[in-house]
């Protein structure tokens, strides 16, 4: 019958109309600034730098190798290396970045910097509310703005971060074992030379 | 004769003359048709004016005549414009000078 389909459709829309007032779950949107949907674990917005421990200066994982700077397609990363070195988590002496700037207004969230970093130092944040009235200065993030703790990383990407932590722990153990073996070898060498000499 | 009836009759005559001048002098067939419509309307105005100021306004001849006239004008416009469109398809023009070639 002509019109029966229309009646069916109108019943459906009426159910939606009334239901949207009664059942909160029906609403597909939230009222944004007051309510927020928590970010998905795989979400990515803009990069940040990971540091270990409490001191952002000392614990920064970045060694200033400039691979990300070279790989960045829109070239929004600017790095200046330091002159002196300091030990990293495995005790190896490394440079660190004297300056590390990212122009957020240029960044296109491609995550290539994260892919290429061999030190697990740069990761993607889920934070996106960077709006500012200062178009140029306000969106240029420097090292202090970018540095965020490993706990923050663990909070936003738990699966990925625990894998990274395990790998780094393993690296540290391997390095420690290697250092110990080297030390023992050196000790044995010394003992041997002593016995020899 | 003077008075309101004469006013309406002179107005209708003027309308008729304008329509006639247009129908005779313009080349575009659509404008010619508009001129013919104007002449028909002048006649309708005459009918209504005569009915209103005539001796027997209780009889409805004037109004009924106008209603029929309007109906015929609508039919005439539909057929006339259909003809113009057909001729346009053939000659790619609506100038009445082209229409002269239609004679057998």
């Amino acid at each position: 019958m002509l019109g029966a389909g229309l009646a069916k459709g109108m019943r459906e829309t009426a159910r939606n109309f009334i239901g949207s007032y009664l059942e909160y779950e029906r609403l597909t949107t939230v009222e944004y600034p007051e309510e927020k949907i928590p970010a998905k674990e795989t979400a990515r917005q803009f990069p940040f730098l990971v540091y270990d421990g409490d001191d952002p200066e000392a614990g920064l994982r970045c060694v200033g190798c400039q691979i990300c700077e070279k790989e960045c397609p829109p070239q929004c990363i600017y790095i200046e290396k330091s002159k002196e070195k300091k030990p990293d988590h495995m005790g190896k002496m490394q440079l660190y970045p004297h300056t590390f700037d990212i122009d957020i207004s240029v960044c296109m969230s491609c995550q290539i910097c994260v892919e290429v970093c061999p030190f697990e130092a740069i990761k993607m944040d889920t934070e996106f509310e960077y709006s500012t009235t200062d178009r140029f200065g306000g969106l240029l993030a420097d090292k202090h703005m970018l540095a965020k703790s490993n706990e923050h990383y663990n909070r936003i990407h738990p699966t990925e971060a625990s894998a990274v932590d395990a790998k780094r722990k393993n690296d540290r153990e391997v390095a420690a074992a290697k250092a110990k073996a080297k030390e023992e070898a050196a000790k044995a060498e010394a003992a041997k030379s002593k016995t020899d000499g | 004769m003077s008075g309101p009836l004469a006013q309406y009759l002179v107005l209708a005559a003027l309308l008729f003359a304008i329509g006639l001048a247009g129908a005779l002098s313009r080349r575009n067939a659509i404008v010619v048709l508009i001129g013919i419509e104007l002449m028909l309307n002048a006649a309708n105005l005459n009918l209504i004016a005569f009915w209103r100021y005539g001796p027997n306004p209780e009889a409805l001849e004037g109004v009924i005549f106008v209603i029929f006239s309007i109906g015929i004008a609508a039919a005439e416009a539909a057929v006339g414009l259909g003809l113009i469109i057909t001729v346009y398809r053939h000659f790619k023009s609506t100038s009445v000078e082209e229409f002269g070639e239609l004679k057998g």
């Binding site: 019958m1 002509l2 109108m10 459906e12 829309t13 949207s20 597909t28 | -």
Partner: protein, 406 residues
Amino acid sequence: MLENIFVVAKQSVMGFLSGFLPEASLPFISSFLSIAPILGIFPLLFALTTIFERKGLGRIQNRRGPNRVGIPMTDIRIAGFGQFIADGIKSLTKEDIVPSSADKLIHFLAPVALIIPVLLMFSVLPFGKNLVPLDMKNGLLFFFAVGAASELSIFMAGWSSRNKYSLLGAMRAIAQMISYEMPFILSSLVVVMAAGSLSLVDIAEAQTGGIWNWHVFTPWGLLGMILFFIAAMAEANRSPFDLPEGESELVAGYFTEYSGFKFAIFFMAEYLGLFAALSVWITLFFGGWNGPFGQYSLLPSYLWFMLKLVLCIFFIIWIRGTMPRIRMDQLMNFAWKFMLPMCLINLLGAGSGYYIRQTFPQSPLAGWFFEWLVVGTALFWIWLELGDRIAGKALTQKREYRYADQ
């Protein structure tokens, strides 16, 4: 007391003014006092409808709709009902852009030529008992005649913009409005036959005395009500017949090149035309300003009228939230192959219904029953047959593309 408050108010104002104003100016003052409330109430209703429509459509799609704009400088949101004021201010202060190749004069005149006939339509509507600005003997004819004049304004808007989207939108609008003009008029004729008058006041008065006197409760009235509603939606370019302004293919149709307040006038004219058509719908089939309980009126007549109008507005929002836009060929097929024959058959049904009722002069109930039994069954059967055989086929058939399918 409350029933005649407007009449009494106007009379007292006129009595007060006639004391010191010249005699010749009084008819103008009287007209002004009749027109001013219409010019105040219906644009306000339009503004409220825009916000109700957006909220209602949102809820139908499980969204919230606009709920932000409230009182400026405060946090009070009044559920978003400040939105229409903000929209009004925005369209008033926006730049008015005229395309450089446009026909400037016609481009300027088109919105004016559209809003005048639309407002004229309101002049014959009976909003309540004794509340009609112009009680014309041919009120319904006036409504249709003036409504027909708005087609040309749409053509003016589309043509003068020198834009192919505008022109296509205008062509679609004219074709659609001409096609649905006939069902629009023919479907209302059943009520004219029943009431024996073209005056909308007489038609409304013929339905006094309770809900069972409304024309919608007769078989031909029910069918006429449906047909009139469909035709009115098409005349007002309202969803699902909003092809002339199909955003997905024509940008905005005939008012693509209009901006600022001229655009607002087009928008308002569309809604005011819709309100006028709905008001006529109410008057013809739903008793006009009559309350449903006979002599226990409960509310003043104008409030009954406004209540019905607001319910109708909610109904059309509901329809808009439900139906997708139909295709041009479906539109034409539906008008010529279903609406027009159905309207003519309905005229026949109204005539036979009248004679069936005449055969039972003693018991109106028996007449009513037999009318439903005979005419109602026949019309329902024809609806089914015509609907499935012709309209159903025309509406569901696959469209044949002349160039794209090769």
